[in-house]
Every structure is written in structure tokens, then in C-alpha cells.
């Protein structure tokens, strides 16, 4: 690896947090070969984003670099002052941020934000030439009609479109190096693929080097030539992707690979392939008793032209004691469907039966009684737990709300629940901030189970968690289901999660169910083109 465009040597990055100093990167050394895509992978807290930000000197104010060198094109850029470093940004190093929604100024037009790059880079091009370049660049990232785009504001565009705009901005000054920080993690899979494709397109056209920060091994394996594995601020392993993934030398890399069923023997399996390999034993026959039944449900928000149809003739059945997965991308109506089942939204038409009761006709009191039997676990374990309560308070809250048993009985129940979700009993007095994401999600599960529900709605229960933790939480959910005979209604965007846990699946798109059946049918013998596209990811 002789021709490295970027060489980081013994880089240490620290964050000051009220009187204490945390080391985010500890003597990290990496090399980024010119003209290739280098993926930096690791779980949350591994320091991969810190590394990306340190290279372009965009660390938050409490971040500091006490030691190390960053050689870009043979020059240690750490020796440059902030002012001298600024001309490198944009012109020599481009950056694609993580969150496309927050990364564009909401009050300026797309055109103005694209032109700004040229202005800040002191581009010698005439305004007409700039305009021409912008239109070409926009076509390159996949916009067929770029002229109409320039006078629009960010809020008028979808997340995927905004991210492709940001890709166009990053490449606009033809930098030698572009750093993309989790460019697709906030996007739906198929949209994310478009964004990655646009990055590749721009990279090959302009002969740039790309550093791709990601937590997704399949994505790294598909898109990168080289890979650097970071673990808690230290480089665990680095090398060509094919070699590292085929023959991981470091224990951590092996653990990462094991948690991702999608990457095996150095290549990415399709969801169907991974599913076929997976040994699940013989599945028990599905019960004929139905826990949830939706029949021709319609739901519309707003009226007139401004309204949106969230559910259009949705019919489904969930056998008791099984896991049903509703799969769809954002805006597909899957969350609305789960809210209708929970009685939080009422259907405009059609019937919703949960545990034999017609949810639409229930009075407030009856609905409350039904809620005892139908509980929910939400996506974000960071927002769904009250930070000021101890775990005892959080898990015990539904018991208090429904006035179950005496205080001593409730305390015993909390201990029992902690054991069920495999957390130490001593954790009862801890508060959410002392727990990791996976542990918090266990607490959310324990809370949902506190009043012994029969149905649990799982709304993206693992999508905010690292891959290794995802697997643990899914295993736990499976064990609890077998022990308590629960029915799960799983809402997710990730077909890979479905493959592991669900017996029946429905794929939803724009308010309609486009495919429905047993997991075997849907994953191995999909008929709908959209389902096939999702499976091909």
C-alpha cells in the first residue's frame, strides 16, 4: 500500500465531559489508498464517526487532538491553523453527512446551497458555467429533471433526494478525497442503495478516493475495497475487504461477522440465501385461533389534496402464539397499522379485531381493559424510558397504573421481570442513563410484559441497536415468546430481522399490502416486484 492519499498516525482524540476526559480514539493509525473505497466499520462508540470528523477537523467543541498526525497528500494537516485548513475543505476533501434531513439549510433553495460550494471554493467558473456544472452534477447523482430542483426548498424533497443533493455538494469541487459518514443509515434500504450508487458514479467519474463510515458489514462488503475495523477507539483489523471478511484475524471482527448473518465466507448473502442457510428446525404448526384480524381497513389523514392515505384495504390475520411481521419502508403505513391495532387511531372503514374484540366499537373503559392485554415496545430505547425513574419505577409503572397487587407483590414482580429479560436484580435501582442501548430495550420489554399481556406490538424493536446486540434482543424475545405463549406483532423495515423471527409476513407499500404469507413463501418464493427488490438488497 504505497500510494496512500491519507495516512493517520497514532491519532488520539479526546472529549472533555464535565471535568473528565474520555478517550474516543487511542493511537489510531490507518492508511487510505488512493482511488479506492475504504470502509471504516465498527459499532456505536467505536470512534468511527470521530475519526471521520477529526480528518476534516469538524469535531465538536469539546473534542481535542492531543497527539498524532494526519497526513493528507503527504502534508501533516494537523500543523495547519484553522484558517489555513479551511481552504482544504470542499476543494480537496468533501464530506457527506449522516442525516440528510438536518444537513441542508431549511430556508435556502437547493440551487443556492449548491452554488455556495463554488463561491466558498473561489471557483474561477462564470455563473453560467457554474449553473451548467450543477445541472450536470445533479444528473450524475440521478436527478432526471434538475432544472426544476434548483428553486425548491429542502422540505419539499424526500430524504433520499436530499442525500443525493449532499453527495452532489461533496463532489462539486472535485475533491481528491470524499468522506461519507453513514450516508445511508437514516434512509430506507432501497433509497440508500440509490445514494450509494450515486456516490460510486461520482467517484469513478471524478477519480476520487472515498472513505465510507458504516456500521453495516454487508454494505461495507459490497461497496468498499478496503476495510478498517474499529473497536472502542482502537484499530482491530485492516486490509482488503475480501481478505478481512473471508479470514478475520481479530476476535472482534469475527464477532461482528457472526452477528451479521448476511456476510459469510467473505461475501454478502442475499436475505433469501441467508434465510435458507439458517437452521430453524421444524416450525410448530400455526394455531387456528386468531389473535389479531384486520379486514379491509382504510385510514386517511387530512382531507382534500393535502391528505394522505395511510392504509388502503389492509386485511391480515395473526395466529395466536406466533410472530407476525409487517414489513415496509417509511411512509408505507406500517406504523399507522400498529396504532390502529393498539386503538390509538381509529379506522375510517373496515373492522379491527384484537383478541376477539372489535376495537372500533369499544368504549373508553373497554379499550383500557383491552390495552392491558395488548402492550407495545417502541423503537428508541433512549426516548421511551423516563430518565428520572429507576428501573423499578419504569417496570412497575403499568402495575401501578392498573393497580395490580400489593406493593410487595409488585416489587416481587419487578424482580421476576428483570430475571425474565436477563438483567441482574440489582439493576432495579439503576436509572436508564446507566444502561447500554440493548439493556434499555430489555427494560422496555420487561415493562411491556409487566401486566401479562397476550399480544405485544414490537415497533422496530431492534433497529436502533448494534448488530451484535440486535441478535441478543431477538433471541431474548424468542425465548420469552416460547415461555409465555405470546403473540408478537412485529413492525420493521428490515427483512433480515423478519427472516430470523417471524412465522408469517406481510409486505406493505404505500398503504397497501403487496405480499402476504408464511415467511418461507415470502422470502423464498416472493412474487411481487417490490418484495423482490427488498430481498435483493
Amino acid at each position: 500500500m504505497t500510494d496512500a492519499i491519507l495516512r493517520v498516525t497514532d491519532l488520539t482524540v479526546t472529549y472533555r465531559r464535565d471535568d473528565q476526559v474520555d478517550t474516543a480514539l487511542d493511537a489510531v493509525s490507518i492508511e487510505v489508498p488512493r482511488g479506492k473505497v475504504t470502509a471504516i466499520i465498527g459499532e456505536s462508540g467505536s470512534g468511527k464517526s470521530t475519526l471521520a470528523h477529526a480528518i476534516v477537523r469538524l469535531l465538536p467543541h469539546n473534542g481535542g487532538i492531543p497527539a498524532g498526525a494526519i497526513d493528507f497528500e503527504g502534508e501533516n494537516v494537523l500543523e495547519r491553523s484553522d484558517k489555513a485548513f479551511r481552504p482544504l475543505r470542499g476543494r480537496h476533501v468533501g464530506f457527506v453527512p449522516q442525516d440528510p434531513i438536518a444537513s441542508l439549510n431549511p430556508t435556502r433553495t437547493i440551487g443556492a446551497q449548491l452554488r455556495e460550494s463554488f463561491k466558498l471554493a473561489h471557483s474561477p467558473l462564470s455563473p453560467a458555467a457554474v449553473q451548467e456544472r450543477i445541472l450536470t452534477d445533479l444528473r450524475d447523482v440521478g436527478f432526471t429533471d434538475p432544472e426544476t430542483l434548483l428553486t425548491r426548498y429542502p422540505h419539499e424533497l424526500s430524504g433520499g433526494m436530499r442525500q443525493r443533493i449532499l453527495v452532489a455538494i461533496a463532489f462539486s469541487q472535485r475533491p481528491a478525497l470524499v468522506i461519507a459518514d453513514e450516508p445511508t443509515s437514516a434512509l430506507d434500504v432501497l433509497v440508500g442503495q440509490d445514494v450509494l450508487r450515486s456516490i460510486h458514479e461520482a467517484r469513478t467519474k471524478h477519480d476520487s478516493t472515498v472513505v465510507l463510515i458504516t456500521h453495516d458489514l454487508a454494505l461495507a462488503s459490497r461497496n468498499a475495497d478496503h476495510v478498517i475495523v474499529l473497536q472502542r477507539g482502537v484499530v482491530a483489523e485492516a486490509g482488503p475487504v475480501a481478505e478481512v471478511f473471508a479470514d478475520p484475524q481479530h476476535e472482534y471482527t469475527r464477532a461482528l461477522l457472526a452477528s451479521s448473518a448476511r456476510v459469510a465466507e467473505g461475501r454478502v448473502l442475499s436475505i433469501a440465501e441467508a434465510y435458507a442457510r439458517h437452521d430453524r428446525g421444524t416450525a410448530p404448526a400455526l394455531s387456528t385461533d386468531v389473535a389479531i384480524r384486520l379486514d379491509g381497513v382504510h385510514k386517511r389523514f387530512g382531507s382534500g389534496r393535502g391528505g394522505t392515505v395511510a392504509m388502503e384495504g389492509v386485511s391480515l390475520e395473526v395466529p395466536r402464539g406466533s410472530t407476525f411481521a409487517l414489513v415496509g419502508e417509511s411512509g408505507s403505513g406500517k406504523t399507522t397499522t400498529s396504532r390502529v391495532i393498539l386503538g390509538l387511531e381509529s379506522a375510517d372503514a373496515g373492522t379491527v379485531q384484537v383478541l376477539g374484540q372489535d376495537v372500533g366499537s369499544l368504549k373508553r373503559k373497554q379499550l383500557r381493559d383491552l390495552r392491558r392485554r395488548v402492550q407495545v415496545v417502541y423503537q428508541s430505547p433512549f426516548e421511551s424510558l423516563n430518565p428520572r425513574l429507576s428501573l423499578r419505577g419504569i417496570i412497575g409503572e403499568p402495575l401501578d397504573a392498573f393497580k395490580v397487587g400489593t406493593p410487595t407483590e409488585r416489587a416481587a414482580r419487578v424482580a421476576e421481570l428483570l430475571e425474565l429479560v436477563q438483567l441482574p436484580a440489582a439493576y432495579a435501582e439503576r436509572r436508564p442513563r446507566e444502561l447500554s442501548g440493548g439493556q434499555r430495550q430489555r427494560v422496555a420489554i420487561a415493562r411491556a410484559l409487566a401486566i401479562q399481556p397476550e399480544v405485544v406490538v414490537l415497533d422496530e424493536p431492534v433497529s436502533a441497536l448494534d448488530a451484535t446486540v440486535q441478535a441478543q434482543v431477538l433471541d431474548l424475545l424468542g425465548e420469552i415468546q416460547r415461555e409465555l405463549g405470546l403473540t408478537y406483532f412485529l413492525v420493521t423495515h428490515d427483512l433480515a430481522v423478519v427472516a430470523d423471527v417471524a412465522q408469517t409476513v406481510a409486505v406493505m407499500r404505500r398503504g397497501r399490502i403487496v405480499e402476504q404469507g408464511t415467511t418461507d413463501q415470502v422470502i423464498l418464493r416472493a412474487e411481487d416486484t417490490y418484495t423482490k427488490a427488498l430481498l435483493a438488497v
Binding site: L88, R91, L104, N105, L120, R197
Partner: protein, 349 residues
């Protein structure tokens, strides 16, 4: 790009782009809606104060009798209070008085003072220019000053400078206005003799009261601007996207953050205008000036209902107009509000 399938995204660009003419149309829709709202607010303010004032103990006739300068030396016992009340219309039924007042509003006639018979519009015309000069000048100065202070509190590299600049406005707003006024008089009028200490006539008499109020306004503006600029600087577009293009901190502040940080400033600006027109009585007393604030206090003391009501109407109009301007300002500054305003219109029509 060869094979982009936009299938998973919402139908792209289904609404036309936003040319200048749509901006104008959207804004004029906002204005039309606001005008109806404005009329309702003024009507409600008049009615509420009318009935509230009616339940106040005492009336202008009694108040007038209590003072020899209005009644002169006439023998009070000979006076028939009811005749006097008839003269000024106070013996009519409550509703008759109310409807007469409302009808007067439409004619632009606010009645005349119960105390000295002068037309309310004349009294207002005397007091208003003084107040407008004071309020207008101080606002004109406080806006740029407020922005300057706010930029000083967020832009400099030195944390010390930033913290100090952020401290100044909070310190200033916590000082009582009359105290600053007296301090200014002592310093610039008595000790240095630069400006007169009071009066309403000369232009130089305006300097000190304008300075006190302009600094107060600037401090208030700076306070909201500092916090909203800090928020804006923390957003991804300002902390990552713009610097990654090569923008300096000042460039980012100036070109990206100022406009977006101006929303809370606009709200405070509206409040400040109202404060300046109705609530400068302390400053008027300290600098012995005439003006709306003083007129208000005097007429409330004299239970001069028509004057008080006239003032309420004028202030309500000012508040409503200012708030309307603020709302228009919002929709000019924020493209997201423009769109929302127009879609709600479409849905309701």
C-alpha cells in the same frame, strides 16, 4: 447515473416550483386572513375594556367634582349630578353607551374626554408624536445594536469574550428602567451637561430617553438572538455541511444562521413595539415628557372612560398591525410556513 429507480420515494416534484409570484400569492393570502383576525381583535379589546371599565367604582362626574380645577369654585351642592351625567351620556343604558361607542369607532370618532370635553382624537394626536418619536428612534437603534451584541456573543474565538458579551444583555435587562434613567440624567445632564434632562420639545431632549430605551431593546433582542444563534450553530447544516464546503464561522453565522435565528427575534420585536407604545410611562415621568403612557395613567386616575377606551383602541390597532407584520415577516423568512399557509387555505376552500 444509469439505473436510478425512484420508485421508493414520493412522486418527485408533483407540485410546481416556487417562483416569486407564488411567494406573493401565499403572502397575500396570509394578509387577507390576518385582516379579518385584526378587526376581531380590535373589537374584542374595545368590548372587554368597555365592560371592565364599567364595573370600576366611581365615574368621571364624581371624579370631576372632586377636583376644583375642573369645576371651578361653583357651589357643588347646587349641582345636579344626573344632569351632568346626562350631558356626557353616562346616564344612558349600558348597551346604548356601548353601541354608541362602537358606532363612533366606525366613524373614526372616539368621543370626547369626560373630564375636559376635548375630543379624544385631539388628545391622542397631541400625545402620539412624542411617543412615536421615542419608540421609533429607540427601535431603529436597538435592532442593529441587538444583532451586533448577539454576534459578539457567538462569533469570537475566545470563550472569554463570548461569555462576557453574552452577560451584558442579561445584566442590562435586569436593571430597573427608572434607575438607568436617573443615572443617565445624573451622568450626561447634570455632571457633563451634554443633554437636557427632560422636556418634550427639543430634539436634544430625546437623546437620553432614546438611549435608555434603545439599550433596553437591544439587550432584549440580543438575549433571544444569542440563544437562537447558538441553537442554529449546533444544527448539522451549520456545524457540518457549511464548514465542509469551506465556510468560516462568521460566514456560516451571517449567511445561514442569522436568518433562521431571526424567528424568535421577530416575536420579541412585536412585543417590544407594544411595550414601547403603551409602557413607556416610567421613562416619560423620569424625563418629564408627555406621551401615550402618561395620558393613559392620567385618564385612568380620572376615570376618564372615553379617553381610556380610545387609548385601548389605538394600542390594540398597533399591536394587531405589528403582529401582522411579524407574521408576514415569518412567512417571508421561512419557506415552510408559506407552503403550510397555502395548503391549509386550499383544504378549507
Amino acid at each position: 447515473m444509469t439505473t436510478t429507480t425512484d420508485t421508493t420515494e414520493p412522486t418527485p416534484l408533483e407540485t410546481p416550483a416556487t417562483p416569486r409570484s407564488t411567494v406573493v400569492r401565499d403572502v397575500s393570502r396570509v394578509v387577507a386572513g390576518r385582516l379579518v383576525h385584526a378587526a376581531l381583535v380590535i373589537y374584542a379589546a374595545y368590548s372587554a375594556s368597555f365592560f371592565l371599565l364599567f364595573v370600576l367604582p366611581g365615574d368621571a362626574v364624581l371624579a370631576r367634582i372632586g377636583t376644583t380645577d375642573t369645576v371651578g369654585v361653583a357651589d357643588i351642592s347646587d349641582l345636579d349630578l344626573d344632569v351632568l351625567r346626562d350631558e356626557v351620556g353616562l346616564s344612558d343604558s349600558l348597551w346604548t353607551q356601548y353601541w354608541n361607542g362602537i358606532a363612533g369607532l366606525f366613524r373614526g370618532d372616539l368621543g370626547s374626554s369626560l373630564v375636559n370635553d376635548r375630543a379624544v382624537t385631539d388628545l391622542l394626536a397631541e400625545a402620539l408624536p412624542n411617543t412615536l418619536a421615542l419608540a421609533g428612534l429607540s427601535l431603529l437603534l436597538s435592532v442593529p445594536l441587538g444583532f451586533l451584541l448577539a454576534l459578539l456573543a457567538v462569533n469570537p474565538r475566545s470563550r472569554l469574550v463570548r461569555s462576557f458579551a453574552a452577560l451584558v444583555p442579561s445584566a442590562y435587562v435586569s436593571l430597573p428602567v427608572f434607575w438607568i434613567g436617573i443615572l443617565f440624567i445624573y451622568l450626561f445632564s447634570i455632571t457633563l451637561g451634554w443633554f437636557p434632562s427632560g422636556g418634550s420639545q427639543s430634539a436634544s431632549a430625546l437623546v437620553l430617553p432614546v438611549a435608555v430605551l434603545a439599550l433596553l431593546g437591544a439587550a432584549q433582542f440580543a438575549q433571544v438572538l444569542i440563544s437562537s444563534l447558538r441553537t442554529e450553530l449546533g444544527t448539522t447544516y451549520a456545524s457540518v455541511t457549511a464548514p465542509a464546503k469551506g465556510a468560516s464561522r462568521f460566514y456560516t453565522l451571517w449567511h445561514h444562521c442569522l436568518r433562521n435565528a431571526a424567528f424568535p427575534f421577530l416575536a420579541v420585536f412585536g412585543l417590544r413595539v407594544g411595550q414601547l407604545l403603551g409602557g413607556t410611562v416610567v421613562i416619560e415621568v423620569v424625563f418629564s415628557r408627555t406621551g401615550i403612557g402618561r395620558l393613559m395613567v392620567d385618564s385612568v386616575k380620572a376615570v376618564d372612560l372615553t379617553v381610556v377606551l380610545g387609548l385601548v383602541v389605538v394600542l390594540a390597532i398597533v399591536y394587531v398591525v405589528v403582529n401582522m407584520l411579524v407574521d408576514i415577516g415569518y412567512s417571508l423568512l421561512d419557506p415552510r410556513l408559506r407552503r403550510r399557509a397555502s395548503t391549509t387555505q386550499e383544504v378549507t376552500s
